[in-house]
């Protein structure tokens, strides 16, 4: 038993390591190649990447792919970061666009998410369904309507043509609605009883609790805007105004060492963001799915269920997401609870009594097929 588990673990580890290498390889490749000299790159990949077809003579037929630089050089970095201001100019332009869109969208999403998650008004569900639909529409569909409006507003060609539609995104509202829903109403009620108005509640209670979700929205959004290709192509028209994401694909074949360093320049901000917000991002992604599992609804309706899940919650990857402390069970932990976990579709249910102060006692198992679980 333990031996087979051990070999299983080793196999798992090997498979995971191999997969990770495959996944990370493109990045490693870019990083090591950014330190190669222009000559080395042309000699190795000139046949594939060089845009000039005239000097066929000095480019070899075979390509020579290798990871470790043979002639290490910082010339590419010197060119991109210090010698020519173009690249860094584009870099800051892209960063500015991303900051504007991300800030605007987060604000809008916080307000909208709070409204959708914590209030009821006629037609709300319909509007929310509409948002989910909008969220799923591919860019190519929304680009046409966007263009019509921006044309009427006389914004085509200016940066506001990219920023304004970017700010009004359904995804942000959707994600934060899901996140805010997981904050129990009792917390909000407590804040209201303390005399906080709605804005204060949102700012001081809801947003701090949903930090992970908001961080994940910020980073996902930032990445999306950082990588945008279609909107600037269609809305800007003036090539000089293009952000880094498009500028990059235009210069890529001109000078190989610069092209590789520009790749590094383009991945730098998202890499730093990722390393810094890694945990928040993962928790946020998880959070967006949790509501769909219906776990939170069960917790809300049935405090015992929540109690029975605390052990599981402590096992959870990043804590705070699955369960929030509830006033009514926090100190009631010693009382006898009767937790029932249901799995109606699997037809499996089990029942555990938890005597006061003691550990859970396993009851005889109730396994029913096709049944509707165990009645409480």
């Amino acid at each position: 038993m333990t031996k087979s588990k051990k070999t299983g673990d080793i196999v798992t580890l090997i498979v995971l390591i191999l997969m990770s290498i495959v996944v990370i390889l493109p990045v490693l490749f870019m990083v090591t190649h950014s330190f190669m000299s222009g000559n080395e790159l042309t000699a190795s990949y000139g046949k594939i990447l060089s845009s000039s077809k005239d000097d066929e003579d000095d480019t070899p037929i075979e390509i020579d792919a290798h990871l470790i630089p043979r002639e290490p050089s910082l010339k590419g970095y010197w060119d991109v970061f210090l010698a020519t201001p173009d690249y860094l100019g584009k870099f800051w332009l892209s960063l500015g666009l991303c900051a504007a869109i991300t800030a605007g969208q987060t604000l809008l999403a916080c307000l909208g998410g709070y409204g959708f998650a914590k209030f009821k008004y006629p037609g709300k569900n319909l509007l929310f369904a509409l948002m989910v639909l909008l969220m799923m529409l591919p860019l190519q569909v929304t680009l046409v309507p966007n263009y019509i409006v921006l044309d009427k507003l006389n914004m085509i060609g200016s940066y506001s043509a990219i920023i304004l539609p970017g700010i009004c995104s359904a995804f942000g509202v959707f994600l934060l609605t899901q996140t805010f829903k997981s904050i129990p109403d009792s917390v909000l009620e407590a804040a209201r009883l303390d005399g906080a108005n709605q804005f204060k509640t949102l700012l001081l209670v809801v947003i701090p609790q949903a930090k992970a979700g908001i961080a994940s929205l910020v980073i996902l959004n930032f990445i999306d805007t950082w990588n945008m290709v279609e909107q600037p192509l269609v809305f800007l028209k003036d090539r000089l105004k293009y952000p880094l994401s498009i500028f990059l694909s235009q210069i890529k074949n001109a000078d190989l060492s610069r092209a590789f360093v520009c790749g590094i320049l383009a991945m730098l901000p998202v890499l730093l963001l990722f390393l810094h917000f890694k945990d928040a991002l993962m928790t946020g992604i998880e959070n967006s799915a949790l509501k769909c599992g219906g776990l939170h609804d069960k917790i809300k309706e049935n405090p015992q269920y929540h109690h029975g899940n605390r052990r599981r919650a402590s096992r959870c990857l990043h804590g705070s997401v699955v369960c929030y402390p509830r006033a009514d069970t926090a100190e009631g932990g010693d009382g006898p609870t009767h937790a029932v976990q249901l799995c109606p579709r699997a037809g499996v249910g089990r029942c555990a009594h938890r005597p006061a102060g003691g550990r859970a006692v396993r009851e005889p198992l109730l396994l029913r097929r096709g049944g509707d679980g165990v009645p409480i």
Partner: protein
């Protein structure tokens, strides 16, 4: 009683006001102009708003370009969705064996999601070009080199899609696996259920609601893989990956707004049906819990 009612309606108004900025923004930039697009799709031409019924739709549906685009898009959906669901579930199951120890791998798998494709495009060009690494390896093994930028571009796009989006799904599947009460597995073990039985009788049914959400996210991301296709293969790629997004984009460049609006309306219809199906399923499920 009256007081309570007014409180409730005041609450409703506050909620509505909170959502108002988002609704106004989405309305001006998406919903209202989409209405205009729909109207345009039923008009004779850009200049005249004469109503011609579904004539434009007939034209587009008959056109070879649209047929090809629709066929390829559905083919890509049909191959990519099962691939990514199975692959990410498998990885999630592997990671779930020991979450603490394998946490670093989760980070690796999510990393491509944040990476701009344009920053690694050189890598993919080198790997998949005619003289590239993959063909080099294939020839070394005595197999025929394939045309990865032409006929086989479909598979390159699939690999790119899986590379970029599997991590997101793995995180979601891990959250789903985490929400399955471990007592169920203990119970099943006592009952003598094996690994396969536990997977099919407990894990899969328990994570079904999550899986639906993961499917939605995967579809959304699938439409984004056009960006990768565009960066790697340009706006006139090989026929095998000429997809609905290429159709739209090329009509945009040719300023053919009528065809464009028809295309937009058709894609919208398909997605509307998909979302309706998924949301409808969810409602049915939730009804089953009561």
């Amino acid at each position: 009683m009256k007081h309570r009612l007014s409180l409730r309606s005041k609450d409703a108004l506050t909620g509505f006001l909170f959502t108002l900025p988002a609704l106004v923004g989405l309305g001006t930039f998406f919903v209202v102009p989409f209405g205009i697009t729909l109207k345009m799709s039923l008009s004779e031409s850009m200049g005249s708003s004469k109503f011609v019924g579904l004539k434009n739709y007939q034209d587009v549906l008959k056109s070879a370009a649209f047929k090809l685009a629709a066929k390829n898009t559905f083919k890509f959906f049909g191959v990519a969705l099962p691939c990514i669901l199975i692959l990410s579930l498998l990885i999630a199951l592997l990671l779930f064996r020991n979450l603490k120890k394998y946490d670093i791998f989760r980070t690796f798998f999510v990393f491509p999601l944040v990476l701009p494709v344009s920053s690694v495009v050189l890598f993919f060009q080198i790997v998949f070009s005619d003289l590239g690494v993959v063909n080099g390896v294939l020839e070394h093994l005595g197999m025929h080199a394939a045309d990865w930028t032409g006929e086989q571009a479909f598979w390159v796009l699939l690999i790119l899609y899986l590379w970029k989006n599997t991590g997101y799904n793995v995180v979601l599947f891990l959250a789903a696996l985490n929400s399955v009460p471990p007592e169920l597995y203990e119970a099943a073990s006592l009952d003598g259920a094996g690994w396969w039985k536990k997977l099919t009788r407990i894990t899969l049914p328990m994570i079904a609601p999550h899986t639906r959400f993961i499917l939605v996210i995967s579809i959304v991301n699938l439409f984004k893989s056009f960006r990768e296709a565009y960066i790697l293969f340009g706006d006139h790629p090989d026929q095998s990956i000429y997809m609905i997004q290429h159709f739209m984009n090329n009509n945009f460049i040719n300023l053919n707004y009528i065809r464009l609006s028809v295309g937009a309306a058709l894609v919208f219809l398909v997605i509307f049906a998909l979302v309706g199906l998924l949301l409808g399923l969810r409602d049915k499920d939730e009804g089953g819990h009561e």
